[in-house]
């Protein structure tokens, strides 16, 4: 009895069913992967640490963009706004005026502002600071050593990142991306600065 075609038909049905199943599973997995990948970026860009859970800020000595020695230990007892930036980074340039205004507002209250200029040269960085009228010092961190120490304490994902450090040398919170005035004042209040 010749049963060839029926066998072929059965085989083809099997292949089609399997192909369809694989396709459906692939589509489902794709949706799941895309959804889970997207959800990672939705987190807020500000982190505030509770007292007692604040990571200790690292100690470091470095020199400023103008060549002045900077010993971070001497900042102990002051609330510090530490801004990691680079003149090549547009959002860092964009937040310049906000930081300048905050410095003018909170500098007289005893808050110290310090920049950490990474992957940059003093020429470009000083040219930018001059243009913006920013007067607080920045660490010349072209080799990234200071930034690396900071990133071992808190997860810094890129530039700009701004840390607010309390009087005991612990990190009260950080802002990922360009700062806004309310974000910084919130963290300053957390660190005990009232104005």
């Amino acid at each position: 009895v010749f049963k060839g075609p029926a066998v072929f038909r059965a085989k083809r049905r099997t292949v089609v069913t399997t192909a369809a199943a694989v396709f459906v599973l692939l589509a489902a997995a794709l949706v799941v992967t895309v959804v889970t990948q997207g959800s990672g970026d939705a987190s807020a860009n500000m982190v505030a640490y509770r007292v007692g859970q604040r990571p200790a800020a690292p100690e470091f000595t470095a020199s400023s963009l103008t060549g002045t020695p900077i010993n971070f230990a001497s900042y102990r007892g002051k609330v510090v706004v530490l801004n990691v930036w680079g003149s090549w980074c547009p959002p860092c340039r964009g937040e310049g005026q906000t930081l300048k205004y905050l410095d003018e507002q909170y500098g007289p209250e005893g808050v110290a502002f310090l920049g950490d200029d990474i992957e940059d040269t003093p020429t470009q960085a000083l040219s930018f600071l001059r243009g913006e009228g920013i007067t607080y010092p920045s660490v010349n961190d072209s080799n990234g050593a200071v930034e690396q120490r900071l990133s071992l304490a808190v997860p810094i994902s890129g530039t700009p990142t701004t840390l607010v450090i309390d009087k005991t040398g612990h990190i009260a919170g950080m802002i990922d991306g360009a700062v806004t005035y309310p974000e910084v004042t919130t963290l300053l209040r957390d660190a005990g600065v009232t104005k």
Partner: protein
Amino acid sequence: VTDVHAPTSKAAPKSEAAELEGEATRAFGTGPAELAERGSGGTSGPSGTGAGWGRWAWRQLTSMRTALILLFLLALGSVPGSILPQQGADPASVTQYFQSHPGLAPWLNRLGLFNVFASPWFAAIYLLLFASLVGCVVPRTFKLVGSARTPPPRAPRNLARLPLSVTYPSALAPGAAVDAAASVLGGQRFRLRRPAAGDAGQWVAAEKGYLREVGNLLFHLSLLGVLLSIALGGLFGYKADELLVQGQTFSDSTAQLAEFNPGRLVTGSDLAPFSLTLDNFTADYINSGASMGQPEAFNAGVTYTATPGGTAKKDDIQVNHPLSVDSAKVYLIGHGYAPVFKVTGPNGAAYNEATPFIPADTNSMLSDGVVKAPGASLGFEGVFVPTEYMADGTIESIFPAANNPMVSLIGYTGNLGMNSDAPQSVYQLDTTQMTKISGSPHLMSPGSTWKLPGKLGSITYVGTKQWVSLAITYDPGQIPALVCGMLSLAGLLLSFFVRRRRVFVRAAPAPGGIGSIVTIGGLTRTDASGGFEDEFASLASDIADASSPGAAPSPAAEPATAPDPNKTEPNKTEPNKPEPNNQSETGA
């Protein structure tokens, strides 16, 4: 007397042969080849319920056919990953591809083809494959353990129907003849089974080649090991890229890396906290002949410290000779030129940096780059050539080494659009709010200065440095994956070269009343490596010798191996026990 004949099952009626095979080959072969048989049952449609559909989907997913299709898709998906430049491995080439294919590149990018191995669709394929393999291998492992522990099946009734069989008369009584056969088989390290109490007949079933199942088990467990190793690498490993100019230092942290692809459970603080300085870089090129200009050797001399404040060490990174630092490996994956520029604007010095230019052509190292001096409201688009040659007014490079370096610049003035939140590529100049300074490109040699018209300022081409691109990888699954891969290969070889084989011996009283008729049957399922016929023939003649009293090497040997029929472990023999009173077939 020995009469080994060719497969008799052909002559036997079909249904009986099938029945016989069904009994004698029970749980026989479970080699990788048989894995392919899985899933053919999965095509029967699902029942209407949700659980039915779920079971059906799971059966589909874990079928070997689906796994093979997924494996094929994985291979197919890797093809664009090796044809098109990849963001992770060579970002410079991706930029170059975008420039040369402005229409096609955005579409390819939308499909994730410049980052294939991190794209959602690729992840979907390998996650499904992962689920499919685990779903297939885990139940199979339990089956294999069971199969490796199963005693041989009972001897079939008619041994003459087995593929190999021999019949000969023996002077011994059936029980003694079978005992003699059992001692021969036991001596050859066969696993034996004797009739249980109450079973009719005098027989012994023997099986050998369990190592095949051990190999199979090893193969499957190692396969799981490979999968786990890959998962380990995917969860805890990372891959990062950094471009570093001669004389510059970078510290390994998320913010400083040009590209960082962490595993699912990796955060920035898991990075090896090393720092690395590029002291020098040399590229040797062939100077003459047909392959002139081809690279011969690359060497990056580096100084590194493994931890902040640690002692500095020196090393050379070459192609296929990475630097190992704190469990991470640093590979040299690319290189290029970084002309040093100084820009002065109306308000003073605005720019002084070695600026990486990206090779547009890796043979001649003609490279493109931009200089951004927002402090002077100046921007430049440039072409760098290491060995300059003018062809019909167009600047070309005829050799990849920096023998006669030149840059050609087009200047722009205005707003560079850099004081905004929108991120910008450092290799591209946004000229939408800028105006061109001069019509034709300005050609500059090292040391020369271009005084810009009006009071715009000037740019100096100071000199040329080189840059390297480095890939920093950490894969904790690499060594386990290698070990498991080797073990799985060993298991596969064992399962291919060891044959599961069964020998059955039955003795019946001889028609004359004295002695017995002994039948030996042999069966092997997978005869891939051959030789079972020879082994069977030699076994059969050994058994025949042992059960002919005249040929027995020592008279004590025969009664010494009388079996205890009440024992469930039939291959354990107790010496010096009288022959059991078997109710039947104990002739004379």
